[in-house]
């Protein structure tokens, strides 16, 4: 469990983090997202006491990290992968860290095996690739059997197998009641891994919500309609001030209305509907939209994913664009709010690929505090 309260960090004039409050619950995987320079790494360093906050404070498992008796058992952290002396072997690096807490060399070898570094354990780390360094960093983080894991971009440089391994590892650890706080720029991976999402931009909180809420709220308000009365519907909807766009297969994309609302309206007015589908949006799209205004470093217009939707991309028509579904401010959901029950809508919608992760609607009820050693995956 991690709590940040009104956290502010300034480097000279530059504000890295400003008034940031959030909490990361145990038994969950919480994704920490934001553009480059948003303050993610700084926030993680503040939690670990490596940087001192200008104001505000952070607590780990209800205590200040500095005052914990067994820091490695409280928190395992992977910050930059290359936080290692290049002249030391992987095993000796881990032995030195383990020695601070009286962790046995047996446990060191166990962790080396777990992260798949057994073959190179006696090689000096200076020759390690990024992927191997990441694995070594993960090994260091896991050494003390920690209650909380703080991982900054842990899957950078990992091969697909490694990415899948990290995903299953963190889910497994969360299922044991541990707290996982993980930052990444790979949205598809985050959508698969995280139960909760904290998005920051320019050091400020943009979103703190359950992943399923975020996607449902953002998605539920764009509906796709196929109807012989499409022209009438389009007129009526645009009269009500909502935005309507035509797709090239003569369907309507309507934003600002739920499928329930439109369905009732159709029944009242006698419109025939062949198809009425809430459009499932990807975490990436939602993320881009939410952080668009706070990008620290713009890579140029083509980098924005908010352009034409995939089904419109070949159209010769002017690019179809749905209006922003929600403003960032409206998205801030209190972290401790129970996930709204969206069962009916859920049942109506067929699974649509990646985003229908097993997390939907099944948050762990009682975080278990099982303390067993991790065997293989």
């Amino acid at each position: 469990m991690i709590d940040a309260t009104e956290l502010t960090k300034k480097f000279g004039d530059k504000v890295a983090v400003e008034g940031l409050s959030f909490s990361v619950r145990s038994g969950t995987v919480t994704g920490f997202l934001g553009p480059n320079g948003a303050g993610k790494s700084t926030t993680m360093r503040l939690i670990l006491g490596l940087d001192h906050p200008t104001s505000g404070r952070t607590m780990v498992n209800g205590r200040s990290y500095l005052s914990t008796k067994a820091p490695m058992h409280e928190v395992g952290a992977l910050l930059e992968a290359k936080s290692v002396h290049p002249g030391r072997t992987a095993r000796n690096h881990l032995r030195a860290l383990a020695a601070t807490h009286g962790i046995s060399p047996k446990r060191v070898d166990e962790v080396i095996g777990l992260v798949g570094l057994s073959d190179v354990a006696t090689k000096r780390t200076g020759a390690f690739s990024l992927g191997m360094s990441q694995r070594l960093g993960l090994a260091a983080a896991l050494l003390g059997d920690p209650e909380t894991l703080i991982l900054d971009e842990p899957i950078n440089g990992l091969d697909p197998e490694g990415v899948a391994w990290v995903r299953s590892l963190v889910k497994h650890l969360a299922s044991e009641g541990r707290t996982i706080f993980i930052s990444s720029h790979l949205m598809s991976e985050m959508a698969l891994t995280a139960d909760y999402v904290i998005i920051i931009g320019r050091g400020r909180l943009i979103v703190d919500a359950a992943m399923s809420d975020l996607i449902n709220q953002a998605s539920g308000q764009v509906v796709k309609v196929r109807s012989p009365d499409a022209t009438d519907i389009a007129d009526a909807v645009s009269h009500s001030g909502r935005s309507v766009t035509w797709t090239d297969d003569r369907c309507l994309l309507i934003s600002g209305l739920t499928s329930e609302a439109l369905g009732k309206e159709a029944a009242r007015r006698g419109w025939v509907l062949y198809e009425l589908t809430p459009v499932q949006r990807s975490l990436e799209e939602i993320y881009m939209e939410l952080t668009d205004s706070v990008q620290e470093f713009h890579a140029g217009a083509q980098a924005r994913a908010l352009g034409p939707r995939p089904e419109d991309s070949e159209a010769a028509d002017p690019p179809v664009r749905t209006d922003p579904v929600m403003t960032p401010a409206s998205m801030v959901v209190p972290a401790n709010m129970p996930p709204p029950i969206l069962g009916t809508e859920h049942a109506m919608r067929p699974p649509t690929g990646l985003l229908d992760s097993p997390f939907h609607g099944e948050q762990p009820l009682e975080p278990r505090r099982a303390r067993r050693a991790w065997g293989g995956q």
Partner: protein, 300 residues
């Protein structure tokens, strides 16, 4: 649903002794530590034996030309008892050449290495109380310093004795007060200087800059001032800033350290041995306090 709260068994715990062990492992899992320390011991012993051999040669040459001036028109040279100093002083002087420089650099690297490689983030994540980490490192340096110099001096003294025993000019008594002061004082001086250099490293964080400052303060500055001092000494009595410079230079860390092992001790010396030790200790403590405050306050 009933939940069973199992309290995790906390066998893992951070203690000072364990941080010390970790620091010890860190130092000795770098290959460079091994060979640099081995070379230091070999150099210390080698130089001690070489110097003893040279003195023995000097004495035998003098004896062969007894009564004959070494310089044209000079006075006859006769070497009396103790004229060539003590064997302990010789050993200390020998160990000072390479040993001091090695420990200046080694104790700086112990900390600046961590900053340059990023290892410091790993270190301070697992041991977030920074003061304790610094003290553990100081302890490692001190133990290493005592070990390396004890071994070098013991073997160097023994080797020197094999060559020099029976010499008239060299005092080869180990157990005299002077001998014990010189040998013990040298180890204390080396530990204090190593600690001060570690403090500079923790304060400055960059390897190159720290070594620059340490070498400048400990080796170059005293040398430059000696040049001035010698010039003034030729000019007769000193007054004003010249006197202040000459007197003040005695308080530089290296010169204060040299006072500790001075042999023989001059009555007119500005610092007596124990005063030299105190002055050096004050330098070290001041640098370490600044280093401690900066390490605690600054982000890593």
């Amino acid at each position: 649903m009933a939940t069973i709260e199992t309290t995790p068994t906390r066998t893992y715990k951070l203690t000072f002794f364990r941080i010390f062990r970790s620091e010890w492992i860190k130092l000795f899992t770098l290959r460079s530590t091994w060979w640099i320390l081995a070379l230091t011991v070999v150099a210390n012993i080698g130089i001690s034996i070489a110097l003893a051999s040279i003195l023995k040669w000097v004495e035998s040459e003098a004896a062969a030309h007894a009564g004959v001036g070494t310089r044209p028109g000079g006075a006859p040279v006769t070497i009396g008892p103790g004229d060539l100093g003590t064997l302990s002083g010789l050993v200390v002087q020998s160990c000072g050449f390479v040993g001091q420089l090695v420990f200046i650099i080694l104790s700086i690297l112990v900390i600046t290495n961590e900053y340059s490689s990023g290892m410091i983030r790993s270190t301070l994540t697992v041991a977030p109380r920074r003061g304790r980490v610094l003290v553990a490192k100081l302890l490692v340096i001190a133990i290493l310093c005592v070990l390396v110099f004890s071994v070098s001096m013991a073997i160097g003294w023994w080797g020197g004795y094999q060559i020099a025993h029976g010499m008239v000019g060299l005092d080869v008594v180990l157990t005299s007060t002077t001998s014990m002061r010189v040998l013990g004082g040298f180890i204390a001086e080396m530990v204090l200087i190593a600690w001060m250099c570690f403090g500079l490293g923790a304060w400055i964080r960059s390897t190159a800059a720290s070594i620059g400052v340490a070498v400048g303060l400990l080796l170059v500055l005293p040398m430059i001032i000696t040049i001035f001092t010698n010039t003034f000494a030729n000019a007769g009595t000193l007054s004003g800033w010249r006197k202040w410079l000459v007197d003040g230079s005695a308080y530089l860390p290296t010169n204060a350290g040299n006072a500790v092992t001075a042999d023989p001790v001059s009555d007119t010396a500005i610092l007596q041995p124990w005063q030299g030790l105190v002055v050096l200790a004050v330098w070290t403590v001041v640098v370490l306090i600044i280093a401690g405050i900066i390490t605690k306050r600054r982000d890593v």
